[in-house]
Symmetry: C2
Subunit: 363 residues, 2 copies
């Protein structure tokens, strides 16, 4: 099959789904044509994922990679307080991978999460690569004019919040490096429209191939692997924070809390103090770290790829903040200060400076 | 330098330039925020370029690659009849390449052509790659509501036109494979804002390192190398055809005339007949092919990457077509027929079926 036949097939798969009514022309022309609502601004992001740098092809089934490719960009759109509506995907595959079932399974995972969030795939590119798989994920969202939540508008006195829990994705990555794998139920997932649930009750069995852990550890390992391999972008939170004008600034946690809080403070020209005991550490991280002499707080502070939202709220707006959105809670972890560029962390009676130690390329 | 420092530098470089007034927030946040004019639709495309498949790093200086990365996507926007206004660039580099002067020169070429067409770089991604350089080029344009020119709306009886000349880029690729190279003037281009001119009078000397050619052949070789390495997207033609509602359908020639005309006919459910003597073969191709026993017509019919526009015009609109836009002429090469899926070519008294023989991945 050449790329034209494949694109033609893909177009049919996309057309058979619910499509955003903003799509005038999708896959199959030189470019996609989109309608943008009056009074709205457009928000756009791209994320490049390269094999053996950002992912390993043998550490997860292709559909999980398809899920993650879209999830990371949806997280960026959420971090702007915007509502995603369409996407493009550029993908480069070696001819070996092209001739395997990789691309079908990859797009299945991609289209499943796209459906879940009302996103229509409208274009992209398919190319050959010499060896490594390359994915560039592009998502467009919209936000009411003037309501995009930037990194640069935090004010001293604002409260700092984070959605969900932290440290799980980094722990999942360590488990993968130790050889842990998610298992698919035999003959399972391909008949399902929904992606597997986080608790493993759909699509992925809780059994993992890993050494000598007890059953309850197995459940934790499974949950942490999914935190790394199947991130859940906080699309609902992003929309609520944008529409209700609740957040004064926002960023998603992709590099790690310490790094991403530093980015936000740099852009806003402010500092921050956070409370160690308030950081919502993933409960499975706490359980497993205790037996492995790892520090759960370090994973929560510096581990990347949790794709939670980190945002600031003016004191007068804090009471309006919902307790949960889509079942995901939020934690208040600290306060913005006027000490430009300085982030401090408080633990009982101690307080020290928090250096960004999250992920960076070319460090 | 890590990627954050580089992105911060790049942001300053972009900010110092003329920016589209549609850019609310550019590089430096989770996503870019853009304004779209009322009554306009958005047009978006992405093009993935992978080292040793779509380009070779040693066959041209980095700034030419930067130029081409944006040019190929601008060509897609032109093929929709739209006006480009901003772009994103995702780039993956090995640490060796990262630590060379590649990225600075690459972005210099990229930003020079962006400036020329009023395009603002608003985002993208920087990642590490194991070995090969990977580039995904995303461009957004806008077009008045309902005026986008699709591939799918050609009608039997429409006349078929092509901008510029054909075959030059494919000939340039063959010359590169034979070892021909463009030379930069010593210390030259980095002081220049404008990209070099096609005639080699600015920035690139007409001297090329190649075997036993005479001086006038050298000029032709130089011009053909630039057709391959520094394509000139027909942005002006695209805007005119869209705004004046002159074209009934359009595609850009990236795979080759025979393939791209087949794509257009497939999408429109029509056929075509073209006149061999009307095909505007590049004059340098004719000159050099004569001495090398190559068929210039074959290069013009099947050679890819000329990035000219191929479009159809209803008979009643043909008289309104401008002779030239931005100095680029247009040629009428044939007519749309009702013979769905069949493309015929006429040469004197002969007529035969033209099979698509242009470029495809995974063939």
């Amino acid at each position: 099959m050449n790329e034209f036949d494949f694109i033609s097939q893909l177009r049919k798969r996309v057309r058979s789904r619910q499509s955003s009514d903003r799509v005038i022309t999708g896959i199959g022309d030189d470019a996609a044509v989109l309608e943008v609502s009056p009074g709205c601004e457009l928000v756009i992001t791209s994320d490049l994922l390269i094999e053996d740098i950002d992912f390993r092809r043998n550490s997860a089934p292709p559909w999980l990679l398809g899920h993650k490719a879209l999830a990371v960009s949806l997280s960026d759109i959420a971090a702007m307080g915007a509502r995603p509506f369409c996407s493009l995907l550029s993908i480069g595959l070696s001819s070996d991978v092209w001739n395997s079932n990789f691309k079908d399974e990859f797009y299945e995972g991609y289209l499943a999460i796209a459906d879940r969030f009302g996103v229509t795939l409208v274009g992209g590119d398919v190319s050959e690569s010499k060896e490594k798989t390359v994915i560039d994920s592009i998502v467009l969202g919209e936000v009411r004019t003037g309501r995009a939540i930037l990194r640069s508008s935090a004010q001293p006195g604002d409260q700092i919040f984070v959605t969900g829990t932290l440290g799980g994705a980094a722990a999942g990555l360590r488990l993968i490096e130790l050889g842990a794998r998610v298992n698919q139920e035999p003959g399972g997932r391909s008949q399902e429209a929904d992606p597997p649930s986080l608790d493993g009750s759909r699509g992925i069995s809780p059994t993992v191939r890993v050494g000598s852990d007890s059953n309850s550890d197995d459940d934790s390992i499974q949950a942490l692997l999914l935190r790394q391999l199947r991130p859940d972008p906080r699309v609902g939170w992003g929309i609520v924070l944008g529409e209700e004008q609740l957040a004064s600034s926002m960023i998603d946690i992709s590099d790690g809390l310490s790094s991403d809080l530093a980015h936000l403070c740099d852009e806003s020209g402010v500092g921050a103090v956070i409370e160690s005991s308030s950081i919502p550490i993933d409960k499975d991280v706490i359980r497993l770290c205790g037996r492995r002499a790892l520090d759960p707080l370090a994973l929560a502070l510096h581990g990347g790829e949790d794709f939670e939202l980190l945002f600031t709220v003016a004191p007068e707006n804090a009471a309006r903040l919902p307790k949960r959105v889509d079942g995901v809670q939020v934690s208040r972890i600290g306060e913005v200060t006027g000490a430009t560029g300085t982030i401090r962390i408080r633990e009982k009676n101690h307080e020290w400076e928090l250096e960004p130690e999250g992920f960076e390329h070319f460090s």
